[in-house]
Point group: C2
Chain length 147, copies 2
DNA sequence: AAAATTTCTAGAGTTAGCTCTAGATTTAAC
DNA sequence: GTTAAATCTAGAGCTAACTCTAGAAATTTT
């Protein structure tokens, strides 16, 4: 009916130590145990794990995730807090997105530069390519010119 | 002519300790020093710092970044290795992007759920909303149904 | 029912990436 | 020229998030 810790580990890729660690940290307060003390995970628990992974992947520290779970346990009096948390997290995510797009430009430039360099057998000569120089200038155009 | 460590710290937001730490780890091998031993950073050094930030932000550990710098120092015999590194990094970045898009859906669902919950004063009642239930089903549709 | 595997708890150890401290030296401000 | 601020080195300390160990108990496989 429920999943053993090993099965959950395989399903989620998380490692049994990690699962127990999360539980110890208060991130999985609903996991139940058999009469002999073995953990059994429900589908609901798997849902929580998915949620944890999502928040972790979007940069929330485990303490922040615990806060959310504590609010959840506290009940409907914390609804606005939880909403605000998710809204803040969405903001984070959008920042990450634009960050990634910037980084992608940088990496793309480097890839083209090194393709040229491999082709010419020399980074120096690749750097002299007019097209690549133009691209580099554009890339560094969003620098602050201060102090 | 060059920047002091404090100026670079302000420019990059990195903290003087961190800058010295990066240098100790071999990530900034070109920073020069005045006759009395103070670091002076050139614009080229700032470029390296930008590169470090970019690779770090895309999930490369400092050791990997050091590897790249070592290859750079080694010269044109490592051009292909460096190209491959950037190509792998681009792959990483694309994975991150699709990951973020998944997470965004999850967060968006949660925001709508909690908006409804705040409006109704109850998470339970929000969960009964037909529209939100449909959305939830869609979200969890990409689950593996195995083992 | 014996052997092999999985799980348990409590606690120690690890890794990455900073972050800080102390005491000395250098530089900038008044 | 004195104070105040910034920088130096070497090394210690810190935090987050695991990751592992040991020895016992439970479960599964043979």
């Amino acid at each position: 009916m429920g999943y053993s810790i090993g099965q959950v580990s395989k399903k989620t890729g998380l490692g049994v130590h990690t699962l127990r660690y999360y539980e110890k940290e208060g991130l999985l307060p609903f996991v139940s145990k058999t009469s002999s003390g073995l953990r059994t995970y429900s589908d609901n628990d798997l849902g929580w794990i998915k949620m944890i992974e999502c928040l972790k992947a979007t940069g929330m520290p485990l303490k922040g995730i615990k806060q959310y779970i504590d609010w959840f346990i506290e009940g409907d009096s914390t609804l606005t807090k939880r909403l605000e948390m998710f809204e803040k997290q969405k903001q984070n995510l959008e920042n990450q997105l634009s960050q990634i797009q910037n980084n992608m430009q940088m990496i793309d430039y480097k890839i083209r530069l090194y393709q040229k360099a491999v082709q010419l057998g020399s980074l120096q000569r690749a750097n002299q390519d007019k097209e690549l120089q133009k691209e580099k200038v554009k890339l560094f155009a969003n620098e602050q010119i201060d102090n």
